[in-house]
Symmetry: C2
Subunit: 393 residues, 2 copies
């Protein structure tokens, strides 16, 4: 039996194995990227679910248009204004979580051997999605303000077959960093100059804990080059699998076509449930509640790291999102350390190496602060700090 080249030799994600271990009840896990389930609007969901079935049961259970449910697309189009985008439902396609948008970006842009320019480090799920279309990666150097324009320009000049630039400008996964406005503008200018599309992945933008939300790359798009991915996974619930693509009509038309052959449409009923939820309840207030919990957890993790981590360890201060990025001394290989950390401290993290598609960086780790209660954050960071102190010696 012969498989396609794209799946031959691809191994199951290392992270996945870590996450399986991390799910054990005795583990304090900073490894996943899960929202806090105690904030899910379960009672409201019961209410909207009943409303949908009573008021539009037949259509909620039937096939429905590939593009998605119009009232939900209208709501999303309006909500895009928060990122400075003026748009309407004709530029919105409902998808099954923003991961599907990454799959579609690969599907519509990549031929085998084409290159994606991405941040270094970047989101592992995107790397896997693009690898499924045999894409290669050129990592662009980053600092605390985003991709460094000089290196981006160098990459655009020197790399053959660049098909798109993939970025997570708000509260990046894994680094927790946010792009400055200047860097956003520089990115769009370079993309315009070279005629290269941008895939802007924005699952965390709503979860901002300090400062003002910056304009999205999509809002700065003047040439119809930006495809924006959004999701309800972090502001409502990931279990429903509802996200969206906001893109110029030409790009969106290609996405609609691949949506049809990929899975026809996203859930008719879940789309209506979210539409009724945002109509019946105060979505803004719901998001504020999530933000207030996560902000507290972030602060606690930051404070605890200051208290318990050795002086030679550095970390980012995320203004939003779910993650912080820890840089330990060069002498430590966080992947090698992982097994022992689990055994000795019962704490889990994700070794940073997974987020560099071309490898090479070994002394980083990603920590998630949204999914653990306050006491476990303090205790987990304390244990991790002690282990690091022993390692550094």
């Amino acid at each position: 039996m012969k498989y396609s080249k794209r799946v031959v030799g691809v191994k199951a994600s290392e992270i996945r194995e870590i996450l399986k271990l991390a799910a054990r009840h005795d583990i304090i896990s900073f490894a996943g990227g899960l929202p806090a389930p105690e904030l899910f609007p379960i009672r409201e969901m019961e209410e909207v679910s009943r409303t949908v079935l009573e008021e539009m049961g037949q259509e909620a259970l039937q096939y429905s248009p590939t593009e998605g449910y119009e009232p939900l697309r209208d709501f999303i189009a309006g909500r895009m204004a928060k990122t400075g985008v003026k748009t309407d439902r004709d530029e919105i396609l409902i998808i099954s979580g923003s991961q599907q948008g990454l799959d579609f970006a690969g599907k519509i842009f990549l031929d085998p051997g084409d290159t994606v320019l991405c941040e270094s480090p970047t989101y592992l799920g995107a790397v896997n999605a693009f690898r499924a279309y045999e894409g290669n990666f050129r990592e662009v150097a980053t600092d605390n303000e985003g991709m460094i324009p000089e290196d981006l320009e160098k990459a655009l000049k020197e790399t053959p077959d660049v098909k798109f630039i993939y970025v997570i400008p708000d509260f990046q996964n894994p680094s927790g960093r946010t792009w400055s406005l200047d860097r956003r503008k520089a990115l769009v200018e370079l993309a315009n100059q070279y005629g290269i599309p941008i895939v802007e992945d924005n699952p965390y933008g709503e979860l901002i804990y300090e400062g003002e939300r910056l304009p999205s790359i999509r809002s700065l798009d003047t040439k119809g080059l930006v495809m924006f991915l959004g999701t309800f996974s972090k502001t409502f619930a990931p279990g429903l699998r509802i996200g969206w693509i906001n893109a110029p009509k030409e790009i969106l038309a290609k996405c609609i076509m691949v949506k049809q052959s990929s899975d026809v449409q996203s859930s008719s009923i879940s789309q209506r449930e979210i539409a009724v939820f945002v109509e019946k309840y105060d979505f803004e207030k719901h998001v504020e509640k999530i933000k207030s919990t996560y902000r507290k957890r972030r602060d606690l993790m930051m404070d605890s790291m200051g208290k318990y981590f050795p002086d030679s360890v550095e970390w980012t201060h995320p203004a939003g999102g779910l993650f912080t990025w820890v840089i330990v001394p060069d002498s430590i290989d966080t992947k090698e350390l992982m097994e022992r950390t689990l055994e000795e401290t019962k704490v889990a993290y994700v070794p940073g190496a997974s987020f560099f598609p071309n490898g090479g960086v070994k002394n980083t780790m990603r920590l998630n602060f949204s999914n653990m209660p306050e006491d476990k954050i303090v205790e987990g960071i304390r244990r991790l700090g002690e282990l690091l102190k022993r390692e550094i010696g």
Copy 2:
């Protein structure tokens, strides 16, 4: 901007445009393949939805394992016995409708230029899914019992880069035909001999109106070559987007990997809703209710065609499923006739040409009998018969 080769030049499906017209309220539509929404278990769905949220709300709204919800996978594994398959949950992956299984078959097997052997005619949605991986098609000649083994063997011998054989053995879409047991056995023998996997698409198998259900191709698999696709779209509701792949572990492992990068997992809540539905209610009885309605509609369509269609028109007698296949005299091009049929009779069908990936057959049409009430079936067939009489002259 440069798109991938797979999406350049691909046009939106013609059928899609027809279906949009057919959705108008003044149209009697035999064009779609929709289940009858009046049979959706709306009240039961309200009940199970409440149960799921009350008893396992947090996990129903959270991320969950890619493979799917274990109790649902157990139920499906048990249900596979109806097609003669002994299996367990480790051979079941939950997917977002069986269309996603077609996408995955393309993704794990096809490199650009590879060939799929398929029935002639075959399901358009599969053709589009495989084309997205730049697959070619070699149509294998069929008769009322399935693929003709001599032509299948010829195809296997003569065609380079055959990656799999795609079949819909039960109540085929579009033809309504069912493969005989002998042909099923011959298919598996040839696949074994040439070491070529089989993708068995089985969305309609549960909807059997006469005779005994035949063993699935998967049940005859002796060499781990068969990937079976099933769905709850026809027996529960398509709006939830829940289907499954049942395959040998090696093939399933590849599917799980592409599931992760495609959309992570299918809906946590919908999987639990179906699992609770089959536990709380009598699934068998529910399917029997659907079958009894569709059987009546099929009989009525068959009777009406006998009464109103000209003698030179032929059609299949489906023992199950949703469709019958009509062959009109050579002189009629059903695609050309479509627009006029809509205008003059307000009846919609799907021109058969769409189901031949390599084109060439113009005098066929697919009629659906599941989605129209009885009086409209009689009236629609009467009008269509009159038009055909005028055309044939």
